[in-house]
Amino acid sequence: MEEQSFLGFMANNLADFWGYTGFAHATSEHLIMILIGLFFLFLAIKKDFEPLLLVPIGFGILIGNIPFPTDAGLEIGIYEEGSVLNIFYQGVKSGWYPPLVFLGIGAMTDFSALISNPKLMLVGAAAQFGIFGAYMVALALDFEPAQAASIAIIGGADGPTAIFLTSKLAPNLLGAIAVSAYSYMALVPVIQPPIMRLLTTKKERLIRMKPARAVSQTEKIMFPIIGLLLTCFLVPSALPLLGMLFFGNLLKESGVTRRLAETARGPLTDAIIILLGVTVGASTQASEFLTTSTVFIFFLGFCAFCIATASGVLFVKFFNLFLRKGNKINPLIGNAGVSAVPMSARISQNLGLEYDPTNYLLMHAMGPNVAGVIGSAAAAGVLLGFLV
């Protein structure tokens, strides 16, 4: 061994240490991603855009883009087998976080609005056209059918569904699709109102809907059971999502499993959202994320959202042609067919109040909103059935 002075030994070790620091491996791509992460945090904290999602995702982006020597076998990166982050990431990769989120959604959602006015289910179905419209645009942009389907599902405005489908069809696009889906969900208040204003007349915006009738406990209990049996017999590939959604709802409505329902909609959902958000954010490593396909994915996601909103609103207008005067639907609830629960319903409410301060549309909009959750899960199941 070569003779080495103490200072030389120290200097060598410090140089080695420098080689392990993030500064030694930082690239401009890392910095861009860190800026994106900070922007997400800014949107969430300062602008209050979906903070429950954007804070974990934004911070996850920071975690995932801390540079480190990937060839040193430190087992810290999200894509390194055995690392803690990789263990968390398995829930995304294997697709078991989304059904658990759906369990929580089911346990916190009141389907009364939908049960009392079942025709609103069709509005939820119409909004799914956003998914398939974006699918056609994605094919035109030379994406493979499986990739196009994964990108298009962003139009369902349903983060867990997008993650679930992408993990099965195009796992390499998972980070970009998940971030895109959640970003647009956060931007629902910005994207939807102009489209809604554009496609409706003042007279239509003032339509007052018939108040919802009171729904009995028995009907509420029957809904998840009948819903599961009917939808999953038709689209069994949506079973993990719809099964958990309806199961969560039965826990809520049965009245005898209050503790389970509270856990499902509270601590369990919170824990899963934390893990899901952070790992989705961390999976957007610069090398995987900063590509031209990510730009296309964001563009297509935007198209999907716009088409979904427009098709929901236009469908209501079309539907109104066949409804009697007292039974007309306010087209401002058509946007709620995308399943961003309850945000898009809140948009309907706010816009409705803007034109008539006494016209409360929230509960009416919750009908298509929850139908949109069912519809987007069914659409994901259809895509999965066709393309796997």
Binding site: S116, F132, A214, T231, L234
Partner: protein
């Protein structure tokens, strides 16, 4: 007691389904009876082999199942131990008996069971027909069987045309161009996804997918709509009947006139809100202000310490 009985029956019913998803999904996938220069075993020797395939998407353990080529086991008068004595029991304690989803397991029919767990205690007839069967761990339930035709060409195997799909039929492979003997691997190499290729070819713009998928989504939600229209009609009738009974009204026309049983949910929501407010807001709200400023108090004998506090006895 009755509830426990129902629970046990339900569990038994569930267990019946579970067993259907286990070893039942293993099939005999390929057999080679006359091995001269084909696949070698771990001793470097050529013997007949039998390939099993797990058709399911779950790991299946075939330990304690039985393989046999002895047709006498079909005699239903034999007891389970008598049948087991005529078959090769796949040993337990070897992790390799766990077949991963859609994977294969190869057994050597060389009559050298001491050479390892995957060496059977029988040989196959290289000239005549061979009946090969896989039995469940109870030695009674036949999981799968195949009769390999006589006079198979040397180094040619008898294989399912598509892995695990018996409806597609069997074929002799290795004797014609583009047919291959494939021990421990797929009979058909999967290098493309037929469905995706079909969509790429027939539906490059996605119209077909859009129409089909939207039809399915609409049908699903339409079925739900019809179902709940029906349920809500019944629900409304029941609610109206209960309300009529409560109000002491017997005539439906009168009930309709007085809007009995058709109250909107908004009324109940308002009542619930009011009750909630009442129950959670039981304390008076004190009219107090929290401040760090010095508060000036006007003197009053009612608040004077002299009158409030008891003087210490002297």
């Amino acid at each position: 007691m009755k509830k426990i009985g129902i629970l046990i029956i339900t569990l038994i019913a569930a267990c019946v389904n579970i067993s259907a998803q286990g070893t039942k999904s293993v099939v005999i996938n390929e057999v080679l009876v006359n091995n001269k220069a084909n696949f070698q075993d771990d001793y470097g020797q050529h013997h007949a082999w039998i390939e099993l395939f797990n058709t399911s998407f779950a790991t299946v353990d075939v330990r304690k199942c039985y393989l046999t080529c002895d047709k006498r086991v079909l005699d239903k008068s034999l007891s389970a131990p008598e049948r087991a004595a005529m078959m090769y029991p796949i040993p337990k304690g070897d992790v390799l008996t766990q077949m991963p989803p859609r994977q294969h397991l190869l057994f050597w029919a060389d009559a050298y069971p001491k050479r390892g767990n995957f060496h059977l205690n029988f040989e196959l007839d290289s000239i005549g027909p061979n009946w090969i069967a896989l039995y469940d761990a109870n030695a009674i339930t036949l999981i799968d069987s195949v009769t390999v035709p006589a006079n198979l060409p040397v180094d040619c195997s008898y294989a399912l045309k598509k892995d695990g799909i018996k409806a597609e039929g069997w074929q002799i492979v290795g004797n014609a161009p583009n047919t291959f003997v494939t021990p421990s691997t797929n009979n058909v190499t999967l290098d493309t996804n037929e469905k995706i290729d079909g969509f790429k070819q027939k539906d490059p713009h996605g119209f077909g997918m859009t129409i089909m998928a939207m039809l399915i989504v609409f049908s699903g939600l339409c079925i739900l709509y019809v179902a709940f229209k029906f349920v809500s009609t019944i629900g409304m009738k029941i609610a109206q009947r209960n309300a009529m009974r409560h109000h002491g009204i017997e005539d439906e026309a009168e009930a309709r006139e007085k809007n009995v049983g058709t109250e909107s949910a908004e009324i109940y929501a308002a009542i619930s809100m009011a009750l909630h407010e009442y129950q959670t807001d039981v304390h008076d709200v004190e009219n107090t202000v929290l401040t760090i400023n010095k508060v000036k108090r006007n003197y009053s004998p009612w608040s004077s310490k002299i009158y409030n506090l008891r003087n210490m006895p002297k």
